[in-house]
Amino acid sequence: MQQLRIQIFVISTFLFSILPVVVHAQGSCNWVLSGQVIDEHNGEALGFSNVYIKELEIGAVSDENGFYKISGLCSGTYTVQVSHVGCAPVLEKVQVVKNTTQNFHPEHHAEELNQVMVISEKRTEETSQVALTLTSKEMEETKGKSLGESLKKVTGVTTLSTGNSINKPVIHGLHSNRIMILNNGIRHESQQWGNEHAPEIDPFIANELTVIKGANSMRYGPDAIAGVILVNPKEMRTEPGLDGEVNLVGFSNGRQGVASAMFDGNLKEVPGLSYRLQGTYKKAGNVHSPDYFLKNTGLEEYNFSWAAGYNRSNFGVEAFYSQFNTDIGIFSAAHIGNLTDLKRAFNSPVPLESADFTYAIERPYQHIEHELFKASAFVTTGNSGKLNFTYARQYNKRLEYDKDKPLNDSLAALNIPELQFEITTHTGDVVWEHFRTHNFKGSIGLSGISQGNTYSGRYFIPNFKKYGGGIFWIERWKPDSSKLELEAGIRYDYIYQQIYKWEDDVIISPIHQYQNMSANVGGIYHINKDFLLRGNAGLAWRPPNVNELYSDGVHHGAAAVEIGDPNLVEEQAYNFLVSGEYSKNKLRLGVDVYYNYMNNFIYLKPEQPPKLTIRGAFPTFYYRQVDASLKGLDFTFEYQLSKSFNWTTKASMLRAINKTEQEYLTQMPADQIENALEYKFPKDFKNIKDAYLAVSVLSVMKQWRVPPNSDYVAPPEGYTLVEFQAGMAVPLGEHQMNIGIGISNLFNVSYRNYLNRFRYYTDDMGRNFSLRLQIPFSIIAPK
């Protein structure tokens, strides 16, 4: 490791030394730079924008029509930063050798999102797809929860859970390898072959969570056939100083405590050098359903990250490192020996194992570690664009401990995990982004991946090596004051995978190769300033995952034998999305309609006969391919009833059909609707600001759209949950401390969620009080 870090240091030093130096030409010093600041997406003039020349440290503010003027400039090339409230700052190189007119187009950009705070749930205007970002209020209210749980705030996103602590995000009914998570710009690579494998990401790293719905494979490679989740950290500090934030969250259920701290600094002595240090600790004990404790449902999590960056106007380098560690207790009563046990567990009104409260984590449990190291650099290429380099290494280790230790005492004493997996991934990207020219803005790039996986213990998936490469080109066309914007992208990928597994005491090493094109075309049409339409059509693919090819064994806890098929071919998705948004005065309305057709959709099909083992007969599931269609609707409605009251309705529905067998697909989220009423205190009370109260009512229907006899037990009944939230800001020195209170499942309703695997064994969590404190502080104040 030390060696790697030295290498990186050498490489970055090298990069520094070859970077071009901007030389200011000498000459006349009377030139005027002027122009207009225009909103990138709707062509509206942006009044009161800041236009700032970095080299000279001078600037101007645009007038109400967006016009600005800076005079007295010498000949030369300048870096101009243009910022406007709600937009990401725009950095552009401008050459001034005469009186120059230059317009600027500040914007939101989903993939670049280096910007500041999200002010209200705002759809990312930049893309013809639907990209939804959690509002700062939603971020606040989900603090302390897992990533998957936090993302549920987005309409159309649900979770596939294994108990209360393992939550996998599901977008439009699809999950795992069909969606991609970009953690700080890096595709998250871990053991993605089980439903009980949640993303190993600390949400406290992010100050922005965005979900892009629909196929989006152009920029980041295959797999993202259902959507992308962007986990973006706050931008590094740009002004000298050192400050930070402490977050403390407590939950009554599970008596969970979470503490997270972040330090953000920038050195005065070395302008442009910024650094960050962040860490989180989480501890929870057994959670409680309305009627009983759930045995062995505690968890412990400890994460930290650091980042350092050196940014100048024409180049920058950045390094980021994060580590995620967790121990998750697996609910004891959900660990069963065979189908008879499963049926008995289900027929029992209470779980077959009971417990009191404890923080102790016993077998069965999982221990997971995830590391990410990222190094990135950019350099501007004259006035035309900028070249980005990114390298990342990820290491994921997963240990699974069965419920029972081995019978043999000496073996038991070793406490070896029954399953162990380690996966190491290297990814690299080179992307050239060109600035806006002739109304076109785009990027072209190359990406590569190398991955190695090993297992020890009980066989479930084999060892493998994987190499992949891709090339892409994306362009956007957006003339000034045009009602129409268009975008298109194309990508080619090649993947080589070699498997290593034992078969009859011989190692076999079959090779799988996949290659395919992805493409995407879309547009945005502004009917008028209140109403816009979006349309997007995408072609995406996904190679079969290693568990789909080679798994062979009993899936413990699921009481099922899962058998892979090495002859599976790529999944091919055709994705269509139409969305309309209307926003006028007090009303906001958004409707997204999607249709996703998939050829060779891979799924687990129950087949006869059951597999006979010494533990009885297990139902057997084979990975099979069919054609599938998923269509649905996401709906949001917001109305400001009065100055203080705000009404929100969010609803989503999905119809997922196995076209080949003409039946429903299993494990799809049921239709749901959430209504919320928020009351904002109209004026500040003494020093207390931004106080609000909110009540939301979530109703989830029964998922009756399942094929007959596809499951051991019928899907559970629908349910309605009420949640209460309140928050306020109180002064704390020169800062404001945010205080929040939440009560989820207010009426302590007993319910079971179809997408929670533990629904076979237990009710979901009961009422849960939470208290959140966000405490900002300064150590070195900016001068």
Binding site: Q323, H335, R393, K397, N463, F464, Y500, K611, R615, I779
Partner: protein, 188 residues
């Protein structure tokens, strides 16, 4: 002022350094040689040995064997129990792990943890009465049992081994199922 700042920065740097010492772990396993000789403990074989208490009828046995464990290949032995009518048999259970060479006898491991294990026998159709004859001190175990056969008949006997850590109460309900095998049974 400056000194104070340096001191604070120093703490941050020290913290970052300490944390990073623990980082960048490596996978030391070799990818092209998957793990093979791990000591996974599986019960592959269940054998019931029947001895006539009166010493008249010949001893018989019945075995269920799945040498590669759960999943994979199907069981290669799944005998039928054939017993003489109107006879009392002393029955002993043997458990083996035949995924290893030489095969490991797992029966002593169960005896050692007798207070966590219980064998349950369920008869259907056949004329046979089964009574466990051993004890862990409080409750029966079922490694040894008496089978009393009646008139000739056909049916089945299900043998279940329950693992009942901290929950053994003499009943078959608690715990997790370690073994569940059904033998076709003929009383001749």
């Amino acid at each position: 002022m400056m000194k104070k700042i340096n001191w604070k920065l120093g703490i941050l740097a020290a913290a970052a350094f300490t944390l990073t010492l623990n980082s960048c772990k490596k996978d030391d396993d070799v990818i092209d040689t998957p793990d093979h000789d791990h000591d996974e403990e599986v019960i592959t074989t269940l054998t019931l040995t029947f001895t006539d208490a009166a010493g008249v009828e010949p001893s018989v046995s019945a075995t269920f064997r799945d040498p590669d464990g759960d999943g994979g290949l199907d069981p290669d032995i799944h005998d039928t129990i054939r017993l003489a009518d109107s006879t009392t048999y002393n029955v002993a259970v043997t458990l083996l792990n035949e995924s290893e060479t030489p095969a490991e006898d797992m029966t002593p491991e169960i005896e050692e943890e007798a207070d966590e294990h219980l064998f349950c026998y369920t008869v259907s159709g056949a004329n046979v009465g089964i009574t466990r004859t051993d004890s862990d001190g409080i409750y029966e175990i079922g490694l040894e049992s008496d089978w009393v056969t009646g008139a000739p008949s056909n049916g089945s006997v299900q043998v279940v081994l329950k693992h009942q850590p901290d929950s053994k109460n003499g009943s078959c309900d608690p715990g997790e199922t370690d073994i569940e095998v059904t033998f076709v049974t003929e009383i001749q």
